[in-house]
Symmetry: C2
Subunit: 497 residues, 2 copies
Amino acid sequence: MWSKCLKSCTIRFSRPILDLGNDTVQLSTKSNWEIPGEPQGPNVKTVVPGPNSQKLLQELNKFQQAGSTQIFINYDKSIGNYLVDVDDNTFLDVYTQISTMPLGYNHPELLNAFSNEHDLKCLINRPALGVYPGEDWPKRLSNIVNSVAPKGLAHINTMMCGACANENAFKHAFMSYRRKIRGNDEFTEEEIQSCLHNKPPGSPNLAIMSFLHGFHGRSLGTLSTTRSKYIQKIDIPAFDWPMAKFPQYLYPLEENQRFNDEEDDRCLAGVEELFEKWQKKGTPVAGLIVEPIQSEGGDNHASPEFFKKLHEICKNNNAAFIIDEVQTGGGPTGKFWCHEYFNLETPPDIVTFSKKLQLGGFFFSENMIVNQPFRTFNTWMGDPGKVILLEKIIEIISRDNVLENVRQTGEYILQHLQVMEQQFAPLIHSTRGRGNFIAVTAATSEKRDEIIEKLKRKGIICGGAYTHTIRLRPTLLFGRKHSDIFLSKFHEVLKEI
Amino acid sequence: MWSKCLKSCTIRFSRPILDLGNDTVQLSTKSNWEIPGEPQGPNVKTVVPGPNSQKLLQELNKFQQAGSTQIFINYDKSIGNYLVDVDDNTFLDVYTQISTMPLGYNHPELLNAFSNEHDLKCLINRPALGVYPGEDWPKRLSNIVNSVAPKGLAHINTMMCGACANENAFKHAFMSYRRKIRGNDEFTEEEIQSCLHNKPPGSPNLAIMSFLHGFHGRSLGTLSTTRSKYIQKIDIPAFDWPMAKFPQYLYPLEENQRFNDEEDDRCLAGVEELFEKWQKKGTPVAGLIVEPIQSEGGDNHASPEFFKKLHEICKNNNAAFIIDEVQTGGGPTGKFWCHEYFNLETPPDIVTFSKKLQLGGFFFSENMIVNQPFRTFNTWMGDPGKVILLEKIIEIISRDNVLENVRQTGEYILQHLQVMEQQFAPLIHSTRGRGNFIAVTAATSEKRDEIIEKLKRKGIICGGAYTHTIRLRPTLLFGRKHSDIFLSKFHEVLKEI
């Protein structure tokens, strides 16, 4: 009943609302999105976490270490860009479940995604996709590849999460590297026997290179490439793999081009040195993984030129070039894939995804195809129930030209933040972003935490990253009106500090 | 409409059907289960894979290496213990999506699992459970812990799959081991700095011990403990961790007790040696992982005495005792957890799960609690949508005394297979099992493959494991009638070979 009622609703345009106090920046956005039923703004009635959240936290702590839990949510009441918690506080959500909600809460069309019997049955009869896929599985993959595959990457494997996507990307890099060295896919008896004992040549000494401040997951393979916070890594054994330095730009970019160009060169030289060093150590680098924007590490950007040259270095060293779009993929940067901004001359070897795409997986090029079955395999190999949501999300993004909203709203927020950065220097600086994937850096780690805490009390849920960064990860439907609310609350907070 | 119609259906008992030709074994099972709408038996109309499956396979191969794909399934038509493929062939499914379907296809009560608005919204508004859980999350965890937590393990973390469950179990073992050594949770500056470089002491040299023929996953950490098939491991770097030998019993057990007891002792001595050897190497063993029945490795059983002593050895070495119940958990052995059969004197430290439980995760003891937040963490930390199914599955298993059916049906199948084993010696041997988690060994690997292939042509989907094993992984609702069909087809196949 309720789902039928929602079926007829669609997202509507409304006129831009511009009411940011004294601010003078005016932008020519043409679109503004409103989700039916969204509140007019945030409304915080209690301390945060409120008494009900605190009570539930005590319950949860009985079963697990729940120290990361912020508040408990009423997901029935949450709508669009707004989260409603169990104390009836309403928050404008600029963090969206660690950047995983492309279209916000209770989107009417997603609520209808399982309203037909066939799709509902997909949820109950979950196949082992690598062995007994459903009749529509090739069609579903084809739809995804044809609509959003990165240019030149027509192959796909689905997984469950970002870490699993990256783990399997590494495995493809290793298998492909060994095939190149070996010249074929015929394993020797020594390889076959030794791998069961975790010894070379069957379990070869090969490495994946990653970057300081990079984040690629927390399973033991991916954690060996994650180099952001110690709390994620300490006490856990890791592979002895090389870590390169990622450019640390000065902002504004226009005023620091020379320094930043040199920073690119320094980092690229470092990458080349590490390739050589690990080759000499007897643990050649089979692949390099990099985020188009280092996200957990503090929203660190690098130039298209940097990525182009990085790609060249990988090619010269026979290493797979793996772009981790787990956090950037799915539209938040204003393009479906952030690396589209780099105009690489040839496609990367592998692009991994998760978060906004609802399940994990990776697209890959023809040279990364593994020739034997059961080498890229696990029990479920993804989840058709998540792909149903993904198909719907892609359809809406395309049909409603949602990425145009992301680009325009993002530009609007960026320009306002740049003005505030000057107004409140040196409290915040280094405003940067693509689309609405935006960050600023606070003067100190303590100021950063204070800003986020004060925003929360004013009804804005915003994310921190690394030590000093405040990051925005709104939905793709975050519009002018939401931006104005965020910017005005942010302005208030900066004034208070 | 359709879901309302199904709502009134419940699973019904029916009288046992005994029609196994010349067979004389009679068992006193009291229960037999019938799912409304199930066909009377298998019906294969085409070659397998049929023309429609072959066509879809060509499609799928465009996007990925699809060599593991068997047939494509019509999940709308599949029902209960029967799979219907895209060529309208009907199979009795004795493998159930690699042992992941506890109640079969399109179970009427599971089809209703999302019929209320609140639960449907859980599918759309997927939280980052470690940060913003829904209001009912503590209650849901409490329900699961109170109904099925292994004795003594009152803590739980949910994940997405079995590999992720095991990866995190390893991390808990490492963190707990380091805390014991360190005496507290205060990290040194050297540990904090070195872990970002993947170097000790921050990234310590610690190991997880596992067993030959064990399977624990395919991510790089778990793959270092997986020791079944080379195709899963070859070309992938691995940690230098110890592999112990798992008992290889002779059957029937009653006639080989002395050999098998000695086998236990030999293997346990080997485990102790490896603890000592790795300690001397400077890579102490922080945890040991073992399946209660080695599943992918060929359904290898070991005695309760073996597991009790293994547990003792772990305690003596300060190593976490991790029981991997990914394939055995959820009822197929006739108890909810297979290790209940072992009557361990104190609980294991960690029990991991996935498959029949729909999502991954692990239960753990108080001494395994990690004191700091964000050490056991990832974006989603499981999936409430899967927990809704799990709650329903647990409710049905308990309400309908489903495990009694598993035990009785399993005993019935076992006794018949033991008769056939004698009748067709030496073609099959070593019939073994707990509940309906049953296996026999074929004389050769080729004969094994031939048996499975011929069964498929007669409409029985059955699994192979390792080199010589035929394994049964039916639903928990696999009853006398289904057993008779399987046994009679199996009998036919053995006669033909």
